[in-house]
C-alpha cells in the first residue's frame, strides 16, 4: 500500500500522509477476533464510509480509533502520530470526535449541558458560540429544547444532539457510528443532508453505516468490512455500480 511506504520513509512527511491511517490492525474481545488485518486511511476533507453487516466489526474499528479499545496488533496513526496507546481524552484533544453507536447522549443532563460537554476541552468561548449557532441552524429543534433533559427527546432529536455534541469539540476528524440506526426515513434524510453539508464545508468524516445506499450516495470512498476483514474498497460510485455490492447490500 502506498500509505505504508510514505509512513516508513520518515516522520517528517506528515503533510503527504492521510489524516488517519490504520495499518494491519487486529482487535477483538476475548476469543472473538473482531478486526483481522484491517488497513484503511482517510484523507483530509474526505468522507469515507465503512460498510458491512451487523457484527462485521465496524463499531470495533471506530472504538480502536478513538482509544476505547486497544488493537492487539498493527498501527493507528492520526496526523502522523501513533495513537494506538493514547488515552481516550488525549485522542479527543488531538482532534477526533466519536459520535458513538446508539447515540449515548447524557439523558439526565439538559440539551444545553450535553452540548457544553461536547466543548469540554475548548477554551475559545467565541468559537464555541459560533459552532453552537451552526448546530442550531442545522438542527433548529435543539434550540427549542435547550433546557429540557436530553432523555425526553425523540430518537431522531437525540441523534441530532449526538452529532451536534460531537461537532462541539471542533474535530479535525468526525467519526459517526450508524447515525441512521432506528430512525424514520424522513429523519435519516435530514441527518444525511447535514452530513453532506459538513463534508462540503471541508469536514473530514469517517462514517460507519449499515445503510450502504445512503452512505455511498454522500461518500467519496468506501470500505466494505466482512467478518472483520476488508473485502472491498474503492470510490463510492464504483462500489454503487458493483454487482456484488448491489446484491449483498443494496438489495439489487
Amino acid at each position: 500500500m502506498c500509505e505504508l511506504s510514505i509512513h516508513e520513509s520518515g516522520e517528517r512527511q506528515v503533510t503527504s500522509e492521510p489524516l488517519l491511517v490504520l495499518e494491519h490492525v487486529d482487535a477483538g474481545y476475548g476469543n472473538i477476533q473482531a478486526l483481522d488485518d484491517v488497513s484503511l486511511h482517510v484523507k483530509q476533507g474526505e468522507l469515507v464510509a465503512l460498510l458491512g453487516a451487523n457484527g462485521a466489526g465496524k463499531t470495533t474499528a471506530l472504538r480502536v480509533i478513538s482509544g476505547l479499545m486497544r488493537p492487539r496488533k498493527g498501527r493507528v496513526s492520526f496526523q502522523g502520530r501513533d495513537i494506538a496507546r493514547a488515552g481516550v481524552h488525549e485522542i479527543v484533544q488531538m482532534g477526533i470526535a466519536h459520535c458513538p453507536e446508539g447515540r449515548q447522549i447524557f439523558a439526565r443532563l439538559t440539551v444545553k449541558e450535553n452540548l457544553r460537554m461536547g466543548a469540554y476541552l475548548r477554551r475559545d468561548p467565541e468559537g464555541v458560540a459560533r459552532d453552537l449557532e451552526w448546530i442550531f441552524e442545522h438542527f433548529p429543534v435543539l434550540r427549542d429544547r435547550l433546557s429540557q433533559s436530553a432523555g425526553t427527546l425523540s430518537g431522531g432529536e437525540q441523534q441530532m444532539l449526538a452529532i451536534g455534541r460531537a461537532l462541539m469539540s471542533k474535530p479535525t476528524l468526525l467519526l459517526l457510528d450508524e447515525p441512521s440506526l432506528g430512525l424514520a426515513p424522513i429523519i435519516v434524510d435530514r441527518i444525511f443532508k447535514v452530513i453532506a453539508q459538513l463534508k462540503e464545508q471541508g469536514k473530514t468524516i469517517f462514517l460507519v453505516e449499515q445503510n450502504a445506499f445512503k452512505a455511498l450516495e454522500i461518500a467519496d470512498r468506501a470500505y466494505v468490512l466482512e467478518s472483520g476483514r476488508i473485502r472491498m474498497k474503492g470510490r463510492a460510485q464504483e462500489l454503487m455500480a458493483n454487482e456484488d455490492i448491489k446484491h449483498a447490500y443494496l438489495g439489487g
Binding site: 476505547l68 481516550v88 458513538p100 449515548q104
Partner: protein
C-alpha cells in the same frame, strides 16, 4: 431527657425529636453524598468512606491541639487532610482494581476500612479521646421546652450550606457537569475528552471533605472520638444513599434526612425497652424501602452501561 411512652407524646416532644432527627440526618446526608458520588462514577461501594470520617475527626483534634487554630480553620484543615487521604486511598487501593467486578472492588473497600480502623487503633490508641469544641458552640438554647445548642445549629447550617454549594458546583461548572455526565455514562464522558481520573479524584476530594465535616460534628456532639467511630455512621450513611437512590446526589441528601428522622422518631416514639434496637430499626427500614421501592426515593431504573 425523660423518655416518654406512647400515651404521653406531646407536641413539644415531637418537635424536639424532629430537631434531633434533622441534626442526625444532616450528618448522614453529608456522608451519604460521598458514597453516592463515588458509586455513581465507579460503581464502587466504598465501605472505607466511614473511616474517612474518623480520619477527619482525628485530624481536627490534632490541628486543634498542636496548632491552636480557630475552630473554622480546624474544620477546613480536617477537610483538607481527609480529602488527601481519600485521594491517596483511591490511588493506592481502588485504581488498581478499577474495572474489576463489583464484588472485587467492594471487598477491596472493606479491606481498606479494616486497615484504616486498625491503623487508627495502633497509632492513636483504641481509647476514646476527648474532643472539645469551643464553649460558644455548647451554649444551650431553650425555646418553650425545646432545647438545642449552637452545635446543632452549626451542623444543620453547615450541611445545608455545603449541599447548596455542591449543587451549584454540579450544575454550573464544567467539572461539575462532567461529574454528572461521567456518572451517567462513563464511556460517552471519555469521548467528550473528560479525563476520568480527574473526575474520580474530584469525587473522592468532595466526598472525603464532607465526611470530615460529619466527623468533626459527631465528635463535637458526643465530646469524644475513637478509631472505630466511623463504622456505624458510615454504614448508616450507606443505607441513606441506597434509600435515596444510589448514584443520585440529591437522593443521598434526601435519604440522609429521611433516615435520620426515621431513626430518631422510631426510637423516640417506641417504648424505652426497645430503644436498644435503634440500629436494627435502620436496617428494617432499609429492607422495607428495598421491598417497596428498590431503586430508592429519587433513583431511576438503570439502563445497562455500555
Amino acid at each position: 431527657m425523660q423518655r416518654k411512652g406512647f400515651e404521653r407524646v406531646s407536641g413539644t416532644y415531637l418537635l424536639q425529636q424532629l430537631i434531633n432527627g434533622i441534626s442526625l440526618g444532616s450528618i448522614y446526608a453529608l456522608v451519604a453524598i460521598g458514597y453516592t458520588m463515588v458509586y455513581g462514577i465507579l460503581r464502587l461501594i466504598n465501605f472505607a468512606h466511614g473511616d474517612i470520617l474518623m480520619v477527619g475527626a482525628y485530624s481536627a483534634l490534632g490541628l486543634a491541639m498542636s496548632l491552636h487554630l480557630p475552630f473554622w480553620a480546624v474544620l477546613a484543615g480536617s477537610m483538607l487532610i481527609a480529602a488527601l487521604t481519600g485521594v491517596l486511598v483511591e490511588r493506592a487501593a481502588f485504581r488498581p482494581v478499577r474495572g474489576a467486578p463489583e464484588e472485587v472492588t467492594m471487598i477491596t473497600s472493606l479491606a481498606v476500612s479494616i486497615f484504616l480502623e486498625n491503623l487508627g487503633t495502633m497509632v492513636l490508641s483504641p481509647q476514646p479521646r476527648k474532643f472539645l469544641v469551643p464553649d460558644y458552640l455548647l451554649v444551650i438554647h431553650n425555646w418553650g421546652g425545646l432545647t438545642f445548642n449552637n452545635m446543632t445549629i452549626l451542623i444543620v447550617v453547615l450541611a445545608v450550606g455545603l449541599m447548596l454549594a455542591l449543587t451549584l458546583f454540579v450544575t454550573r461548572t464544567n467539572l461539575g457537569i462532567a461529574m454528572r455526565a461521567s456518572s451517567e455514562n462513563l464511556q460517552a464522558a471519555q469521548l467528550m475528552g473528560i479525563n476520568i481520573n480527574r473526575i474520580v479524584a474530584t469525587a473522592f476530594i468532595i466526598g472525603s471533605g464532607l465526611a470530615a465535616v460529619a466527623g468533626v460534628m459527631l465528635g463535637g456532639q458526643y465530646g469524644r472520638i475513637d478509631p472505630l467511630m466511623g463504622f456505624v455512621p458510615g454504614l448508616k450513611a450507606f443505607v441513606a444513599a441506597v434509600i435515596g437512590g444510589i448514584g443520585n446526589i440529591a437522593g443521598a441528601a434526601v435519604g440522609g434526612y429521611v433516615l435520620g428522622l426515621a431513626e430518631v422518631l422510631l426510637v423516640g416514639l417506641l417504648p424505652p425497652s426497645l430503644s436498644g434496637f435503634r440500629d436494627a430499626f435502620v436496617f428494617i427500614f432499609l429492607i422495607l424501602m428495598l421491598l417497596i421501592r428498590p431503586v430508592g426515593i429519587l433513583g431511576s431504573v438503570e439502563r445497562g452501561r455500555a
